[in-house]
Symmetry: C2
Subunit: 110 residues, 2 copies
């Protein structure tokens, strides 16, 4: 029904899913990569960087803000965006942890 049964899964599973969902659109990946590349606050020029309308970019920014990966501070007429270092490292660690186990299947069927 498009409704995820969140309460039936572990906190870790929901956390991975939530963070993964934030990265599950190329526009949001592009936004994060752009902010990472610049290593600074971006005031304004994000819409020109993406092949999407201003309203759509704003919506993706909102989602990234909702999970806490970016922050936006109003700077006069424009808004200053940057990656939240603390959250970024938390998300990184969640993924690193997920991928830390080695895959070793001894069975012949694989």
């Amino acid at each position: 029904m498009g409704v995820t049964k969140t309460q039936n899964f572990t906190e870790e599973q929901n956390q991975v899913a939530t963070y993964a969902k934030a990265l599950a659109h190329p526009a949001r990946v592009a936004i994060l990569q752009y902010l990472l590349k610049k290593q600074t606050c971006i005031c304004g020029d994000l819409v020109e960087e993406l092949p999407l309308a201003q309203a759509t970019v704003s919506q993706h920014l909102k989602e990234l803000k909702a999970v806490g990966l970016i922050r936006g501070t109003v700077e006069g007429t424009s808004v200053c965006y940057c990656i939240d270092k603390h959250k970024w490292e938390e998300v990184r660690d969640v993924f690193f942890n997920m991928f830390s186990s080695n895959v070793e299947c001894q069975d012949k069927c694989c």
Copy 2:
């Protein structure tokens, strides 16, 4: 419109987004964690492990198979699932690469 403008983003951006989408549901995370924990092929008992109906589990398995993260081999009446080691490491590397840059913002506004 629910349609992602894939062609307007880089291959890397689409790759991260695609793999993230595969992890963007707690049930699929749970499936992967279960396969990782067992370190072997799982024949059958996946539905009992999850708080979802068989049809729903089957659908999540299909999605994980579609991105190549798991493989299923028919073993008599049941199907044997395991993580595709090669793909798993590829996905891991894609995420590691995404998170390899350090966040250093010198601006006062952040």
